[in-house]
């Protein structure tokens, strides 16, 4: 576990699972992508990260995942030990069968059993011995969710995990992810370009702009569906914050 800015590790109940302070990352001399970003995520909290294309959402996620060793920058990051990443592509090793992909790198003796359970949880029971190539895009992404969850992460990082899926499969995946998060209760940081997806899934939506978190709203909709009266309002607000004017919002709705 990384230490916070005073070099202390606090494990009190109200300590955030993720704590980011003054984070800077840049790819070139002229201007940073992340420019003094602060962010806290509570244990078990589901945060959706939205922002225009190229604002640095992936850059932030990769920093939290520790995958940005070649990127210049500084700042404090504290994340839990057990972090899982879900990528936009399922990233299943094509030469390993589905179950072997799910338990890849697990050392526990009951790995195969737990992997089987995880596959059942994502609705892929019976497909243990399939090759990844034989699964549909949605099934591959479910297998990759199983691979992440079987590790019981305290933090789940997901970068547009449903971006490549069709609309119907995506709705199914939303329901599945919600259910899985209720069972496993990891903290989640989900990058998405889809405002509706953010509202439906998250406890909190944050908007990245000019290298910092510009907007941070809590989603308090009892049903988390478009039927909620607050849904359209929140959606309009976030679209507005994204710089999409009302007219375009109406056209796309």
């Amino acid at each position: 576990m990384a230490t916070d800015d005073r070099g202390l590790i606090r494990n009190t109940a109200d300590a955030p699972a993720v704590r980011v302070r003054n984070l800077h990352r840049s790819f070139s001399e002229n201007g940073g992508v992340l420019d003094g970003l602060d962010l806290d995520i509570a244990p078990g909290e589901f945060v959706a990260l939205i922002g225009r294309s190229g604002t640095g959402k992936s850059t932030l996620l990769r920093a939290l995942a520790g995958l940005d060793r070649d990127v210049a920058g500084y700042g404090q990051i504290r994340v839990p030990d057990a972090v899982s990443v879900v990528f936009q592509d399922s990233r299943l090793l094509p030469w390993k069968r589905v179950l072997d992909n799910v338990v890849f790198g697990l050392r526990a003796g009951d790995a195969a059993e737990r992997g089987g359970q995880a596959l059942a949880e994502v609705g892929l029971a019976g497909r243990e011995r399939a090759w990844p190539d034989e699964l549909s895009g949605g099934e591959q992404q479910r297998a990759s969710l199983a691979r992440s969850l079987v590790r019981e992460p305290a933090l789940l990082l997901a970068d547009e995990p449903f971006g490549a899926l069709d609309a119907l499969t995506r709705i199914r995946m939303h329901a599945l992810l919600r259910k899985l998060c209720e069972v496993h209760r990891p903290s989640v940081l989900l990058v998405t370009h889809d405002v509706d997806e953010a509202i439906v899934l998250a406890d909190r939506v944050i908007l990245l702009d000019a290298g910092v978190v510009r907007t941070d709203v809590r989603v308090e909709l009892p049903h988390r569906s478009q039927a909620d009266p607050g849904f359209a309002e929140l959606r309009a607000f976030l679209l507005d914050q994204l710089g999409v004017n009302d007219l375009t919002a109406e056209v796309t709705a």
């Binding site: 995958l67 592509d89 990233r91 090793l93 030469w95 390993k96 790198g105 090759w131 190539d133």
Partner: protein
């Protein structure tokens, strides 16, 4: 919603229970296949058997002059004679041992070097340059040097075959390894596995297609090396048999040797291809 569901069920029921005696018409639209199509059983053997048939018929009809190329049945005769009277079995065993040992050293060496130079920058700078230089010097041109170093015995022969088969294994494995998608390495990093596991589960399987391609070149190169080194003072082996035949002007025995080399090459290549098909069954390629 419910009505459309009911209608769907109705049409489905109709479609799956055809009326008695109704002709089973199949109205699919199938695209013209652009790949090679379904696999033919024993397809490997068709070409060689055809070649044999041409040889036999040509000899029978008299198109092929026996002074140029002995007829297949005379070759069979010579084979039997060599087997019974001249220990052809021992010669074959000696040749196979040489080729097999050399190939084994070459393959292991080539793979180790490829993994080392593929995964570490230091390894690359130490290994890749010399190998590329070695590539441009034909191994066969090095034989006089090896004779000076190792004598004209078994050692020189095995070293030559090992070197000549190491190069294609190195080049193709290295290439296969370097073309593994970087995103798999990234995945392995997020999963938190060590270097050993990474090599075992990601690098080696990912480089396997390249390695197997290298193997196909390597077995042919090993045989080429075998033919050449057996010209050097061999006291056993197919090359030895052929050297004697050359002295006595026995064309039929020469052809026995050539056929044996050909058969070895073909069998070895077939073995690698079968391994390829089993080991790479996860791939959906045009090969099928």
């Amino acid at each position: 919603m419910t009505t459309t569901g009911a209608i769907d069920a109705l049409t489905v029921a109709k479609a799956t229970v055809p009326g008695a005696g109704a002709p089973k018409t199949d109205a699919r639209v199938v695209r013209r296949r652009l790949g090679p199509g379904r696999r033919i059983r024993f397809a490997f053997w068709v070409g060689p058997i055809l070649l044999l048939a041409v040889w036999a018929i040509g000899s029978k009809v008299g198109v092929i002059n026996p002074a140029v190329l002995t007829a297949p049945w005379d070759v069979a005769q010579a084979f039997q004679d060599q087997w019974v009277n001249h220990d052809l079995g021992g010669d074959i065993a000696a040749s196979l041992e040489r080729a097999g040992l050399g190939l084994a050293f070459g393959v292991v060496g080539g793979t180790l070097l490829a993994v080392t130079s593929g995964l570490s920058r230091i390894g690359e700078s130490l290994i890749d340059g010399p190998i590329q230089i070695k590539r441009s010097v034909p191994t066969l041109a090095l034989i006089p040097l090896f004779v000076a170093w190792f004598g004209i015995g078994q050692e020189m022969k095995i070293v030559t075959i090992a070197l000549i088969s190491m190069i294609p294994v190195y080049v193709n494995t290295h290439n296969g390894l370097r073309s593994i998608d970087g995103k798999y390495a990234e995945l392995a990093e997020t999963i938190g596995i060590g270097r050993g596991e990474f090599i075992r589960h990601v690098v080696l399987p990912g480089a396997l297609p390249g390695f197997l391609l290298g193997m196909r070149f390597a077995v042919t190169s090993a045989l080429l090396g075998l033919v050449v080194v057996e010209q050097y003072n061999a006291t056993s082996g197919i090359g030895h048999m052929m050297t004697l035949a050359e002295e006595y002007g026995e064309t039929d025995v020469l052809v026995v040797g050539l056929v044996l080399y050909g058969v070895f090459g073909f069998l070895a290549d077939t073995a690698v291809r079968l391994t390829e098909r089993r080991a790479l069954s996860w791939r959906r390629t045009i090969e099928g």
